[in-house]
Symmetry: D2
């Protein structure tokens, strides 16, 4: 299982979370990544944690003021990127373009989507992984694996029907080790989470609880 | 073969094109549709031609000022709609939403895309048809079926791998009967065209040339 | 006072509302316009009511599939258009472009905005009118003129400071004649309203109540 | 005169340009800023150069994956931000929102726009500065101050008519000291430039040429 902690634009200390994630990953052997604001990528990467961008733009080098260039996030230390998060939905053609952009510097990719049909569509574009996150559960207290286990199973089936090599993650409401185990049992290869760690009083303890049952 | 004439925002007379399309369709037995501006849908539908919208919004009845409501275009006489044309690219989630919207009043749907990967993605969302239109050939003098026959064949294969029930159209640069025959031979179920008819001095003659070899 | 009834994508009968608006306008002498879906413009215009588009695209004749061409809405009978409604926010450069587009066929224009600063910005672009509609009050039961009279007065002042020839409308929550009188007394030249008429059991009675005190 | 070097998504070394800008600024006394990719902000700021963001999102702390949070760019060392560059056009309401966001951590702001009408609109929103950049001249070989001096003078007048405290910059095609002097004489308080420095073989020499006549 891969655990990706999305810091969004939360008022957390990205270095504190990154150091906690690096420590927990080392101690548990579970792969834990952290996705901070672009401006925080280099500082987060310096902690040694696996560092992800929250987004890369569907552009090449050139006249693209305000874009997030894949090469720039890679130079800052990112090794992967989220694409099409529900808070940053992209045009279909731009998801395709952002995947091309991420491939140039060798960033790993996870394309987010709302439901199994969109997961199949995302998988058809050839990312490393897709992530199903029902928008109505994001930020809530109930894990997708508990509230809507079928959507996770259907997403796993939908992605496999298109391309068996694409991993499937799930997200929305995940905050405990039981949630992660449930996601694992439903066939997910990883989980996306955010507030459960980023807003925790003790991010390291929150992460230890998360990976403990694995 | 289905022939869909997209009037875009061209300075043509939509009624003249619609009447020409209705006449040619009746005489040839070839299915010819016309997609005008939303404001022209009812006048075009009154000619008896098969009438398509250029777009419907991913919304239900409600507070959506400036949207193009699927029910409104159906009430005006449209029986189908284009979605995600390269001049009106949508977010992945909104293509899904526009397909849901079109299904409510029973509109036929064709989702446009740039390349075979995006065609597979579009097919995964369950439209009636997908249409591959390489952006660099749109509006040009060379037909996609001549300039890039492989992209049409690859699109046909990509859609079939995801869902065999989804028709595949192609577009970009199509203006002659030979172009339509070439598209047919590459496996396409229809063609999208625009300037070749909409900007012709004699739209009826242009359409007659198009369907003559079929 | 100008009264503009925005039908949004509501499940109302646009012809019923248009006929009611035409009747009330004739009987009362108050200028009442109706803004339906683009696909309904010609049917609404045929009732004789003053007909407005909900939006026009910042484009000229050309390759703009899915756009709302100013000439097309004018040909369908519209004599004015809303621009930048809070449910259809545009880029600053596109508000400017939509105003240029509306000017070609001589459409009247009202640019909507959230607050007095944005009203001043909108007025600087040279529309016929601006309309202040606080997003948090749109669709609610309390009129902007009651809930936030200062925002209307400030909008009137802000527009006048930039260009005294620009009319100022207000909207959000307006449903009674008292609301219209209050708007008038705060310096507004017109009101935008929607659900209060479009969702009324008897649109004509609702409009008669609205204009009665004028 | 303020000289702001926008690195866009160019394949330049941001540190080399930043060090050159810091050196030239120190030696000449001319205020020179550098606007790199968000991921490069902290490394650029460490050179001691005045550091600007290319964009900030119209959001507060919260669930905004993929946004560019004003506080994050300020923490990384930025002291100012561009908003609404022609390659990153924003909705009017979002320019207003980005200005509010930039104000929280005290970032200086410059809002870009295409023409004098939009400059007046931008000035009405209360930024520290506005910048007129005719899109057709951006990236070209001819300076706006030479190709279209009237647009600069008109922008200066338009901003002053709305708010005299707002500075006016100009950009597009500026690459020599003569261009900067011409801008100064037309009433501009600063210049935006990009490829002339970012793509120069020797950025420091390019900057020295630029500020030499001042």
């Amino acid at each position: 299982m891969f655990v990706l902690v999305n810091l969004k634009a939360y008022p957390c200390d990205p270095i504190e979370v990154a150091e906690a994630a690096a420590t927990v990953s080392d101690e548990s052997g579970v792969d834990v990544g952290v996705a901070p604001q672009a401006a925080d990528l280099s500082a987060v990467a310096e902690t040694g944690v696996e560092t992800w961008a929250q987004h890369v733009s569907p552009v090449e080098h050139g006249s693209h003021t305000g874009s997030t260039l894949a090469e720039a996030v890679a130079d800052a230390g990112a090794t992967g990127t989220m694409i099409n998060h529900s808070e940053n939905r992209l045009k279909l053609a731009d998801i395709d373009g952002s995947l091309d952009a991420a491939a140039r510097p060798g960033l790993e990719t996870v394309v987010c989507a709302n439901n199994p049909e969109q997961i199949a569509a995302a998988a058809a574009l050839g990312p490393d992984a897709v992530a199903v996150e029902p928008p109505e559960l994001i930020g809530g207290d109930v894990s997708v694996a508990t509230a809507d286990p079928e959507i996770v199973e259907d997403a796993v089936d939908a992605a496999a029907a298109v391309d068996e090599s694409v991993d499937v993650y799930c997200g929305a409401g995940i905050s405990t080790g039981e949630d992660v185990v449930a996601a694992d049992e439903l066939g997910a290869d990883g989980v996306l989470l955010a507030s459960g760690v980023a807003k925790a009083d003790d991010p390291q303890a929150a992460l230890e609880d998360l990976v403990e049952p694995l």
